[in-house]
Symmetry: C2
Subunit: 486 residues, 2 copies
């Protein structure tokens, strides 16, 4: 097509015309640098001229440095600066908006010490991949592909893969949730669930209440969306309800400071590891209801609760109402690489979020949803959860003992799960990190979870991917460095 | 935990105390309706009382309607309205923001006629799943899982799976793009790519230029982000460059109306099916460069170009600059269910988008990226593209002939690909759709692709998933109804 529009005149030698046209196109950038040209045979067909004319034209172009040949590979445009087409430099820093700027500034992956495999790293709270039952997953893949490969490999529905949605509705039901007026939207993990809710139901300047400290990703999303974050302290006894009451009353006085949403992680709270008691869940729910503040409940690692049958998610208190949006995810403990989470909420609300999901990225991989459904349905998850509850439970107890033994802390928090939280005695955790890094040990400084500077002397220790030996050695090293800083 | 805080006194019968505590919790909503209670044996362990006391308490609670048992399943809290905890109704319509409202209003899936399998539907332009090589895909899955299953099933990187990124950089290189100062971000398909760019680099009220008509999803994203859309007509000769010039000059006069971005689909433009010539690509690029308007190039179905080696993407003209953001996707033709696309742009720009991607949903499924990489690397895609170019090319020619034969149109557009675009002679395509629906045939009315009401008499016909018989029958029926409306 590029060459087929040539018109050859009768006055000049054909090879000169071809040469001039091609050099002109190269000058204009129409034939990009290093791109492959048609072969002499192809070009003679396109121009309907003898192959010799094309060979001659190519020889001239080579001589002038426009093109070059590699034997067996073909002929290419040379890589010289194109005169009419030099630098165009857009100032993207100037074009980026508030969301982009904030997401970059708060990107801890870019700003924290990178993992290296010679470090003992307590930074991660991702699951230990060695526990994944990959044989079961293979079976689920092969089964689902043979049953409906053509279907799950083609476009699906924004809301999600129906069998998975039905499975999860039942699953939520088993946690005590009446799902008769609820529905589920499948999301790319918890993070997308939260981002969808925030980017659908807030405007810049809106107020949101949350625990302080809280999940760093949540703070990042709230800040990127320009929200005013109202923090309520968590101390060693859990959420400070007096402070919560006070903030609620204070903000309810003026319509401008009215709080719109509340974000809460009742189980294995990140970073403190605290599990909220049923009584406090009830108290929290009713307070929010009284102030008409919708709740976003983060179902974080709820699956790890030993006695899960007797602790209900907050959304189970909201059965006949629409005040709670529950965001769940298995991917914090199972196959995080697949990125599957869900939002459970009132039907009309899910209907709204479905269109937002479609607008942003159409749907979550139907292949992954199909595989996960098959795996869940065949009981793979139940077996897995039993195994990891014991595995991580034992590890938690061991890490807890090590901390008790080696670390001089103000207090230690955590009820299980994949991490433990420490409040040190007035020791700067960044300074500690620098020292520990010198000894080959890293951890997550607690300040990234705080809305203010209260967390400067706190530390989150994730132990899920470390061996017992590494846990003990790492904690000993941290303890030693704390003693040196004291 | 819920039950472990009970304190039993010495004065009342134990079964009465248990009964009262449980009924109290049910009244307060602490034990949600329909949730399962511990077995009598479990509860007697928790309370450290005789099992008989618990059995008695449960009998009393059953008698009063608080709980019920299903033999073999257990005991459950009854589903009666909870007094202290009745309706809480949040007005989500009032809380939704502009993005959410717009995404819902413009959701064509919710507003258009639904597909039923007894309809001949020309609505879809998704690929024919029967052409997918599922055996090759299985091999790629099993291969990748056995090589690095633990890795691709755990958390990955926001930018994407490194081997896939490298493969795609090479692939773009083979299209004539110098990738030395470019990088790639893997996205959940084209749609997420566009949403990421728009939600990172625009603010409400910014101006964007695009073809009119254009991809409906793009219009939806622009509107949801509150952009001012400046349309440039496409007519039977393609993009109207005079109009483009005029709009550019008009908008460059005042800083308030300055155009920030341009969105363009040079190959198999959706909906018109036009392929832009290399000369026009060059002209467009230089115009945008002159006005310093960054280009978002939609690589839509470029892979279907028969003579693809001689038509370069616009981004190949931008090798040493940073003015073009190219968004590519195989998922329009290959495994759309997997949702994998990519953004190719200047390195510094991709670095920014990487943090935005991480903020929004961490990363695209590493399992899917691993499988796709393996499939591509083993030559599966090359074989597939050869097959479908012929398959869809033949279908296109057949559909084109049928339209020519049966439909009285103003003009027919399309250079191949998976759809054909018709301009009728002043016939309302919505009215036509209603009539055709009665005859079991549906199509996509062109108006959804227009920024104004110019498209009222246009129609997009997608034929990828229809048989030759269905194509001919469907087009005959559409033609008949057009004749009746004329």
């Amino acid at each position: 097509m590029l060459f087929s529009n040539f018109e050859l005149n009768e006055t000049e030698p054909i090879y000169i015309q071809i040469k001039n046209q091609i050099s002109d196109m190269i000058n204009k950038g129409l034939i990009p640098n290093e791109s492959k040209l048609p072969s002499t045979r192809e070009l003679s067909d396109i121009f309907k001229v003898s192959r010799n004319s094309v060979i001659l034209a190519y020889e001239e172009l080579k001589a002038e440095g426009y093109i070059y040949s590699i034997s067996g590979k073909g002929t290419f445009a040379s890589s010289k600066e194109v005169s009419s087409n030099g630098g165009w430099n857009i100032d993207w820093n100037n074009l980026e908006n508030f969301y982009c700027k904030t997401a970059n500034e708060m990107d801890i992956i870019k700003n924290e010490i990178e993992w290296r495999d010679d470090l003992i790293s307590f930074k991660s709270i991702s699951p230990n991949g060695e526990l994944f039952n990959i044989e079961e997953l293979k079976k689920s893949f092969l089964n689902r592909i043979s049953l409906e490969g053509h279907k799950i490999l083609n476009y699906g529905y924004a809301k999600g893969y129906k069998p998975l949605i039905d499975y999860l509705l039942n699953y939520m039901n088993s946690k005590g949730v009446d799902t008769s007026n609820k529905d589920i939207l499948i999301t790319n993990g918890f993070t997308e669930g939260l981002d969808l809710v925030i980017s659908s139901f807030t405007n810049k300047g809106d107020h949101i209440i949350c625990e302080n400290p809280t999940h760093n990703t949540a703070i990042k999303i709230f800040r990127a969306c320009g929200l005013n974050i109202v923090g309520v302290d968590i101390d060693k006894d859990g959420l400070n309800f007096d402070m919560l009451d006070e903030k609620l009353n204070q903000h309810s006085k003026s319509p401008d400071s009215k709080i719109k949403l509340a974000y809460i992680t009742p189980s294995y709270h990140n970073p403190t590891g605290i599990v909220m008691s049923p009584e406090k869940r009830y108290q929290f729910y009713n307070l929010m209801k009284k102030h008409n503040i919708a709740i976003i409940e983060d179902g974080f690692n709820e699956e790890l609760l030993y006695s899960s049958s007797h602790i209900f998610p907050i959304c189970s208190l909201d059965n006949f109402s629409n005040g709670v949006i529950y965001i769940g995810s298995f991917s914090k403990i199972l196959f995080p690489g697949m990125r599957i989470g869900w939002i459970l909420a009132d039907k009309a609300l899910i209907n709204k979020l479905e269109s937002v999901k479609r607008c942003k990225n159409i749907h979550v991989s139907f292949l992954d949803q199909g595989i996960l459904f098959d795996y869940l349905q065949n009981g793979g998850f139940d077996k897995y959860v039993k195994k990891i509850r014991k595995f991580y439970g034992d590890k938690f107890n061991f890490a807890y003992e090590c901390i008790h033994k080696y670390i001089d802390s103000d207090y230690i928090l955590g009820d299980g799960g994949l991490h433990i939280f420490l409040k040190l005695k007035n020791i700067d955790s960044r300074e500690l990190l620098t020292k520990c890094y010198g000894d080959g040990v890293i951890f997550m400084p607690g300040d990234i979870f705080y809305l203010d500077d209260k967390g400067y002397d706190t530390v989150r220790l994730g132990f899920s991917r470390l061996s017992y030996e590494e846990i003990e050695k790492g904690i000993r090293i941290i303890g030693k460095n704390i003693d040196e800083l004291s």
